[in-house]
Amino acid sequence: MSAVLRQPASLRQRVHWTDRIAHLLLAAIAAALTAFLAGPLLAILAQSVEGKQGEFVALDNFFAYFGTPALADSLWNSVWTSVVVTAAVVPAAFTFAYALTRSCMPWKGAFRTVTLTPLLAPSLLAAISFIYWFGNQGVLKDWMHALGIEQIYGAPGIILSQLFSVFPHALMVLVTALSLADARLYEAADALGTSAVRKFFTITLPGAKYGIASAAMVSFTLVITDFGIPKVIGGNFNVLSTDVFKLVIGQQDFPKGAVVALFLLAPALLTFVVDRFVQKKQTSMLTARAVPYAPRPSRRRDTAMTAYCSVIVLLMLAVAGMALFASFVKFWPYDLSFSLRHYAFGIVDGEVNVAMKNSVVLALWTATAGTAIVFSGAYLMEKTRGADWLRAPVQLLALIPMAVPGLVLGLGYIFFFNAPQNPLNFLYHTMTILVVCTIVHFYTTGHLTAVTALKALDAEFESVSASLKVPFWKTFWRVTLPICTPALIDISRYFFINAMTTISAVVFIYSPDTRLVALTILNLDEAGEPGAAAAMAVLIALTSLIVCILYLGIGRLAERRTQSWRKTS
């Protein structure tokens, strides 16, 4: 009996030198993730138990936090606004997703494209726009008063802006969930004479329940960790994210800032854990025998859906359009004549061309280096063997960034990289650290996309390669990369657009040499120049749009050149 208790290790197979290289690369990625993710997070943890002079004060800072009612209020404010937004956006996005996947509504492509608008600019574009709509000089201010809301500053503004900003994210998750439908279930229900309503509640909703949960998690996390919107339109309504900013930048009170950052991390971590749990339970909806669902036309439903989607799309365009309009207005509200003053202000006084160059450089570097690192890391994890002790840590580190709000990450970077004892200290205030921080911030989605694409490949490619004595990197270059080109393009576009529009992580670690356009918007708003801020946001949106179109072109080109083997004729 006791002889069986100890798990026998397998015979130690000799490690081929190509495998050693794979292990080294994997170790390098592990080291990088530790230095640029785990290190900063631990630095925050360390900072939260230190006093202002660096002495160890255990939980004093935490007690001080709870002792200040205003700060505890922020926690409550953050949570309830996030819940409200989630409760509103998920049904709205669900209905839209339903229209896109389960109805025969016309112009689906156009509707879908417009909903991507909020992704093109930083989130605070919506906040600026809503001030123009509902602020004290707002166009529709009276409507708002009629609803009993006294002013847009504060919770109403935050909630409205987040609705706009979070909608596309929730929509993407729900469209994916609703696309996985097996027509046979519906056909069976029809054969049994089930009513449409009953079909919805017994087949559609349960089938999408994991998607709905996921969308709710995503929305909640996005709202509670967002910084730009509450900064612009929050007024005196304090939330955790603006608190962190005020404490760290405004008062340079790092210990308290670290405490608030930890509280910001908690909801994000929680939703992340729940989401992972939900993902595990998601059984495969589409087996090999499933028949994809093709909706049948139904006049009443289709018209209703079209009307609904039109309303949503119009609202979105109204928000984006107002920002565009305001950027060309000379002096709101007293002089509505057309003027390029705000653009000139940004470009001349705000030195936005420098900032734009920096932003584009950041985005390019993030897109290229990020895609390369993410994809290589995923490949090494999925397709090479050995060095098992490395794999679990790398896997964990790859998933953590999704749970870390940008503010928290940026904060960690200040603590970690500004410490004089840190040998990597020289990176502080460089473009490199901005690139690294942005890559780490958006790592997980890229990683998951890469893993999904890699899992779709035959699991035995590498075994075949080994048996034919071909080193794995040759197979990587000749087979894996070409097949996964669509995924690579997706990942790099994701990195690029996010690098252009991100604020929360970089707001702490940028330097005078590395000013970014997204931050310029923030500064302009702080200075009370909403017109110029709107103009800059429009410029970012324009750049993002151009880049998206470029990517479309690249995608088509790549498809023709590297994916032609998919044709079966």
């Binding site: 035995e460 004595k469 083997w565």
Partner: protein, 364 residues
Amino acid sequence: MAQVRVEEARQPFLRLEGIRKQFGSFTALRSIRLDVSRGEFVCFLGPSGCGKTTLLRIIAGLEAQTEGTILQGGRDISALPPAQRDYGIVFQSYALFPNLSVLDNVAYGLVNRRAERAAIAARVAELLKLVGLPEAGAKFPAQLSGGEQQRIALARALATSPGLLLLDEPLSALDAIVRVRLRQEIRSLQQRLGVTTIMVTHDQEEALTMADRIVVMNHGVIDQVGTPLEVYREPATPFVADFVGKVNMLAGTVEAPGRLRIGAHGFACTSCNASVGKSVRAYLRPEDIVARPIVEGDVNVINSRIEKIEFLGSYCLVRVAAEGLEGQPLTVYLSLNYLSEMALADGSPMKLRILAERMRVFEA
């Protein structure tokens, strides 16, 4: 020279000694011992989970055994990684590189060896001819049928002239008709090239048709190694008897040496080694029970009534209820000719003779 070759011929090409594989507390393979001769076609046959694929992967180096040695061509490859072993492998999914042409797929292992372009092209052409697809070079895997893909995978595995060819259920993804045709092609290819081959399959018909020797595995152990005929006619364990081919099982006791009592009958049994009084199980193939010729004085004759005739084409599987066998059913093969000749149908009575020398008896 001839002396050396005789020596070589006498040494097994592949020798597995004491192979054990443990996954945590689950033992997938227990002390496997096997010799494979050069040029032999061996099938690992067994139900899912018996460890046959694990064993194959251990030979390939894709899994590491917990214990045991592997010798290939006299060389100890037990601890070598796959890249340092000498074999070609075809997986169930073929794992053809979809974005490379057939030509590039087949040449994949050759290109690495930095051979001349012309030499590579010639070798690829030769291989494509060998597998019967000489015109397929420029096509892509997605444009080929399942059977064609399988042959290309084979060509690719053979391109480097490996000493050992490993096939992991290569035919299971194919239609029945294609499967039958490909069986023969693979077998004739293998014989022509003389490459030592190990094939994993759960289809006993495949094993019986293709193999020189079959290794029947069950729950991580080898139950029997033998030629198809040996495994069929002389199953070493009840499992083998049951797994390979159809079989009838009758329970009874040993009455006297060479004599069994099953139900109300006594049966003569030539190969019965159990001691008197023991409970035994007797295994009979359907063809071990004949309807003719039955003459006066024959032993092991029983009366029966046809319960159900299952039409299979030129012969039928007939289930009979035999008298005095305590309700244990018997299934026999009867040709269509015989059935129509004798005008037999459900319910018809029939005399049957059990061939004494065919009874395989195991202790219960």
